[in-house]
C-alpha cells in the first residue's frame, strides 16, 4: 500500500499536464518539451477550417487575452463559438499547436441541469 501510494504521488506529478489560461500561456514561456492544457472560451467568429486543421482562438474566461490554436482530429459535438474548451498542446511561434484529438468541450450553461454521466 505504501509502495502504491509513493508510486501514485511520484508518477502523477511527472505525468500531469498543467492547466493554463490563455493569458498565462502568453506570459509564461513554456518549458521545452512540456505540454499544457489550455482552458478558456472559443472566441466568437474565430473558427475556420484550413485543410485538415481547424483554427480557432481561445480567450480568458474573464478578460480578452486570446491565443490562436491550430488543431486536428475529431471535433466534439458541442464545440461552438463562445463555449468553454480544454485543449492540450504547447505554444510554438505564437500559435498553440494542439495535440491530435485532445479537444474537450464543456457543455453550455443552458444544460447545467442536464445530467450526463459516463
Amino acid at each position: 500500500m505504501l509502495l502504491l501510494a509513493t508510486a501514485l504521488v511520484w508518477t502523477s506529478f511527472n505525468a500531469a499536464t498543467e492547466a493554463r489560461t490563455p493569458s498565462q500561456v502568453l506570459e509564461q514561456p513554456a518549458e521545452p518539451g512540456r505540454s499544457y492544457e489550455l482552458t478558456g472560451k472559443v472566441v466568437e467568429g474565430s473558427i475556420e477550417r484550413d485543410g485538415e486543421a481547424l483554427r480557432f482562438a481561445v480567450r480568458d474566461r474573464v478578460g480578452s487575452a486570446s491565443v490562436p490554436v491550430s488543431y486536428s482530429g475529431v471535433v466534439p459535438d458541442p464545440f461552438r463559438e463562445g463555449r468553454e474548451v480544454i485543449v492540450s498542446g504547447a505554444l510554438a511561434e505564437g500559435t498553440f499547436m494542439a495535440e491530435r484529438d485532445s479537444l474537450v468541450t464543456k457543455c453550455p450553461s443552458k444544460f447545467t441541469n442536464a445530467e450526463e454521466p459516463a
Partner: protein, 720 residues
C-alpha cells in the same frame, strides 16, 4: 398540481424526520410498538414519493410548461419516450428519483426484517430516514433543487431534452446507477445499526446481502450502459475515458465488489469485521460522492458541468457520515475483534483478502487520479490533471491480477489448501493457461503485446476453472442420482445458485476483460477528410465515401432532429462488402440572435455513429460534415428571408440541405477497427445473467440444507 407535489415533498421530509426520531427511540427503549411506527413511517415515505413522481411525470406527459422542470428539459415536440425519461436529466428530478428509490428499497428491507434483527433494525430505520431527510431537505429548502418550482409566465414551448441524451441507453443509465448507489445505503444503514447495538456478528450481513448484490448488479449494469452509450452515440469511438464522472460510478462498484467477497469470510470465519464495516461505509460515501460529483462542477469534465450551490451541503453530509462512522467503529472496537486468525496464505481467506487489496488499490488509484487536479492545486498552486495513460498504467496490472484471482478464489480450499487440493483444482486450468499462451504467442499477432498475452492466458485459466467445477458437479450428480446431463446441470445450479451464479459472474468478467484487452491493444483508427469517391484503408478494410446524404425530419433514431447530414460508405474487406450510413443530427439553436435559417445549423449537433458489430472485430464509423461550404448561402438566406413565412423558410431550408447533396464538400470521417470489442458487451451480459442467477429466490421446499442442519443430520445418522 405543483402545489400538491411540493406539499407531498414537505410531508415526506417531516415523515422521514419522524422515522429518525421513532427509530432512535425504539432502539433505546426496545419498544416494538415504536419500532413498528418508525417502519410504517418509511412505508408512508415511499407512498408520498410515488405520489410526487406521478404528479411530475403527469406534468411531463401533458407538457405542462408552468412546471419549471418541464420547460427546462422537455417540449411539445419531444417524443413521448423522452418526455417520460426527461425527469431525471434535471438535477431536481434526479434527486427526487434518488429518494423515491431509497424509500422503496428501505420499505422492502424493513418488511423483510420486520420479525428479525429486533435490536438492529430500529437504528437502521433511523439511518435510512436520515439519508432520505437529507435529500428531501435539499429539495424543500434549496431553490435550485425544487422539483415542483413553477413559472409565473410559462413559455410557449419548452427547451427540449439535451440532444446528446436522446439515446435509449442514456435514459436507462441514470436510474440504473441510482438504483446501485441507493441500494448500498441498505447494508450501510444496517452496519451502523449493528455497530450501535454492538451486534456485530454476521446477522446484519445476512439480512442485507441480497440488497448489496442487487445494488452491485444495477450499478454494474448502469456503468455498462454508460460505456455502450459512449461507444455507440458519442462521436469519439471509445467506451471509457477516465472521466471524473465515469470514475465516480466505478469507485463504489469496486469497493462494493470487495465487500461482497469479504463478507463471505465474516459469515464463514468471523474475521474481517472492521474491514467489512469500513468497506460498506466507503461504498456508501463513494456513492454519495458519485451523486454529488455529477452536479458539482468542481472537476473539469465534459460531464461534471454546472456549478451548483448544492456542493457545500453535500460535502458537509459526506464529512458527517465519514466522521460519524469512524468514531462509531473506534468506540466499538472491542466487539469488532476477529474470531479467528488466518491459518495459511494458501487458503481461500488469503486469496479473498488479496482480491480485496487489489480492488481497494484500484479504487485508491482512481480516487487519487480523479481528485488530482484538486490535490495539485492545493500543493503547488497550479491545477494539473493526469490523463488516460496514467490511469491505464496503474489499472491494467491490477486488473490483470484480479482476473487471475477470479480463477483461484472460488475453488481454493478454506483455511489451508493441501498440495493435493491445489493439484486437483488447478492442474487442468494451468495447462489451459500455458497452451493458450503458447498458441497465441506463436500463431497470432497477439505476441506483439506481452500484456495482452498475459491477460488472454489468465482469462483462459479463469474460464477453465469455472467450466471444470461445473463439469465435476454435473459428473458427481450423474453418478449419484443417475440423471441425464441437462437434468444434472439444472439441478446442480438451482440448488447452489449463489455458488454457480458466482462462477458465471467470474466467467463474464473474464470475457469482458477479453474485449477490453483486445480492443485497447489492437485498435486501428484513422481520421481522414474525404470527397465522394475517395477511400481510406484501416486494418484490411477499405472504406469508400460513395455519396452524401441530406434529409429533413428523417432522423433514423427518432430523436426529432430537423436536419440530418450524413454519408453512405462502401466497406470492403477481402472481397466482402457492406454499406454503413453514419450521419450527424443538427438541432435548432434556441439563441434569439441566430438567423431564421442559420438557427437550424447553429444549435447542438450529435454524431449518429454507424457500426458493424462482429465477434472478431467491430467496424465503427462517424462523419463530420463540413458546414463551411454552406455558410454563404445560409448567411444570405438569413438576410433575405428573415421575415418570410414558415412554409417559405422551410422551402429555403430544403434548398440549402439539398445543395449539400448536389455539391458535396469534403467531409471528415473517423474509422475505427476495434477487435473483440463485442465481447465487452457479451461479457457484461454474462455477468448480469450470473448475478440474476445468484439473486433468483430459491424455491422454499428445495432449499439447500444449511450447514447447521447438515451437521445435525450427520450426528443423527452416525448415532443410528
Amino acid at each position: 398540481m405543483a402545489a400538491v407535489g411540493s406539499a407531498a415533498l414537505f410531508v415526506a421530509l417531516v415523515t422521514a424526520l419522524y422515522a429518525v426520531g421513532a427509530g432512535v427511540r425504539a432502539g433505546v427503549t426496545r419498544s416494538r410498538h415504536t419500532a413498528a411506527s418508525a417502519r410504517r413511517a418509511i412505508y408512508c415515505l415511499a407512498a408520498l414519493m410515488v405520489l410526487a413522481l406521478v404528479i411530475l411525470e403527469a406534468a411531463y406527459l401533458r407538457t405542462d410548461l408552468s412546471f419549471a422542470l418541464v420547460a427546462q428539459n422537455s417540449s411539445i415536440q419531444t417524443p413521448t419516450f423522452y418526455k417520460v425519461t426527461a425527469m431525471w436529466s434535471s438535477q431536481a428530478g434526479s434527486l427526487m428519483l434518488w429518494v423515491l428509490l431509497l424509500s422503496l428499497f428501505s420499505s422492502a428491507v424493513l418488511y423483510s426484517t420486520r420479525a428479525s434483527l429486533r435490536e438492529v433494525t430500529p437504528y437502521a430505520t433511523a439511518v435510512l430516514g436520515a439519508v432520505a431527510a437529507f435529500f428531501l431537505s435539499l429539495m424543500v429548502l434549496s431553490p435550485e433543487a425544487q422539483p415542483f418550482a413553477t413559472l409565473a409566465n410559462p413559455p410557449i414551448d419548452g427547451q427540449g431534452l439535451n440532444p446528446l441524451l436522446r439515446h435509449p441507453a442514456m435514459m436507462f443509465h441514470p436510474p440504473m446507477l441510482y438504483t446501485g448507489y441507493v441500494g448500498f445505503t441498505i447494508p450501510f444503514a444496517f452496519a451502523i445499526g449493528a455497530l450501535i447495538t454492538r451486534r456485530t456478528g454476521a446477522e446484519w450481513i445476512r439480512a442485507t446481502r441480497r440488497f448489496a448484490l442487487i445494488a452491485w448488479t444495477f450499478l454494474g449494469f448502469g456503468i455498462l450502459l454508460g460505456a455502450l452509450w459512449s461507444y455507440s452515440e458519442l462521436g469519439w469511438g471509445g467506451y471509457w475515458a477516465w472521466d471524473p464522472v465515469e470514475n465516480a460510478s466505478l469507485m463504489p462498484w469496486l469497493t462494493g465488489t470487495a465487500f461482497l467477497h469479504s463478507i463471505m469470510i465474516q459469515e464463514r470465519r468471523g474475521m474481517l469485521k472492521v474491514w467489512n464495516v469500513a468497506l460498506i461505509v466507503a461504498t456508501f460515501v463513494l456513492a454519495l460522492l458519485g451523486t454529488f460529483l455529477v452536479r458539482s462542477g468542481i472537476l473539469n469534465s465534459i460531464h461534471a458541468f454546472g456549478e451548483s450551490t448544492l456542493g457545500a451541503p453535500f460535502l458537509g453530509f459526506i464529512a458527517f457520515v465519514l466522521i460519524g462512522s469512524v468514531a462509531l467503529v473506534l468506540s466499538r472496537r472491542e466487539s469488532l475483534r476477529s474470531e479467528a486468525a488466518l491459518d495459511s496464505l494458501a487458503s481461500r481467506e488469503a486469496v479473498f483478502l488479496l482480491n480485496n487489496l487489489v480492488l481497494v488499490s484500484l479504487c485508491v488509484v482512481i480516487f487519487y487520479g480523479t481528485f488530482f487536479p484538486l490535490i495539485s492545486s492545493a500543493l503547488t498552486g497550479a491545477e494539473a490533471s493526469v490523463g488516460p495513460p496514467w490511469f491505464n498504467a496503474f489499472v491494467a496490472p491490477l486488473a490483470i491480477v484480479l482476473v487471475l484471482l477470479a480463477g483461484i478464489g472460488p475453488v481454493i480450499a478454506w483455511r489451508r489448501a493441501t498440495p493435493a487440493n491445489l493439484r486437483r483444482s488447478f492442474r487442468i486450468p494451468a495447462v489451459a493457461m500455458v497452451v493458450t499462451f503458447g498458441v497465441l504467442a506463436t500463431l497470432t499477432p497477439a505476441a506483439s503485446s506481452p500484456t495482452s498475452l498475459i491477460v488472454f492466458s489468465f482469462i483462459a485459466f479463469t474460464i477453465v476453472v469455472a467450466l471444470q467445477e461445473v463439469w465435476r458437479g454435473v459428473g458427481a450428480r450423474r453418478v449419484m442420482a443417475d440423471e441425464s446431463w441437462p437434468v444434472a446441470l439444472s439441478g446442480l445450479i438451482s440448488r447452489n445458485r449463489h455458488r454457480y451464479g458466482g462462477y458465471v459472474v467470474h466467467v463474464g468478467i473474464a470475457t469482458l476483460m477479453l474485449g477490453v484487452a483486445g480492443s485497447s491493444a489492437f485498435v486501428g483508427q484513422r481520421d481522414a477528410r474525404l470527397s465522394p469517391g475517395e477511400s481510406i484503408s484501416v486494418d484490411g478494410y477499405t472504406v469508400t465515401y460513395r455519396e452524401p446524404t441530406a434529409e429533413l425530419l428523417a432522423d433514423r433514431s427518432g430523436t426529432g432532429a430537423p436536419v440530418t447530414l450524413g454519408a453512405v460508405l462502401d466497406v470492403n474487406r477481402a472481397g466482402r462488402t457492406f454499406t454503413l450510413r453514419p450521419s450527424r443530427n443538427y438541432y435548432p439553436s434556441g439563441d434569439p440572435a441566430a438567423g431564421a435559417i442559420g438557427r437550424f445549423f447553429d444549435g447542438e449537433a450529435t454524431s449518429e455513429v454507424d457500426l458493424r458489430w462482429g465477434l472478431a472485430r467491430d467496424l465503427w464509423t462517424a462523419v463530420q460534415p463540413d458546414l463551411q461550404a454552406l455558410r454563404p448561402s445560409i448567411d444570405e438566406a438569413d438576410r433575405r428571408f428573415v421575415d418570410a413565412s414558415a412554409p417559405i423558410q422551410a422551402a429555403i431550408l430544403r434548398e440549402i440541405v439539398e445543395s449539400y447533396r448536389s455539391e458535396p464538400p469534403p467531409a471528415t470521417f473517423r474509422v475505427i477497427v476495434s477487435p473483440l470489442a463485442a465481447w465487452i458487451w457479451l461479457g457484461g451480459a454474462i455477468v448480469m445473467a450470473g448475478a440474476l442467477l445468484a439473486l433468483w429466490p430459491a424455491a422454499g421446499a428445495r432449499r439447500r440444507l444449511s450447514s447447521v442442519e447438515a451437521a445435525r443430520l450427520g450426528r443423527e445418522l452416525s448415532r443410528a
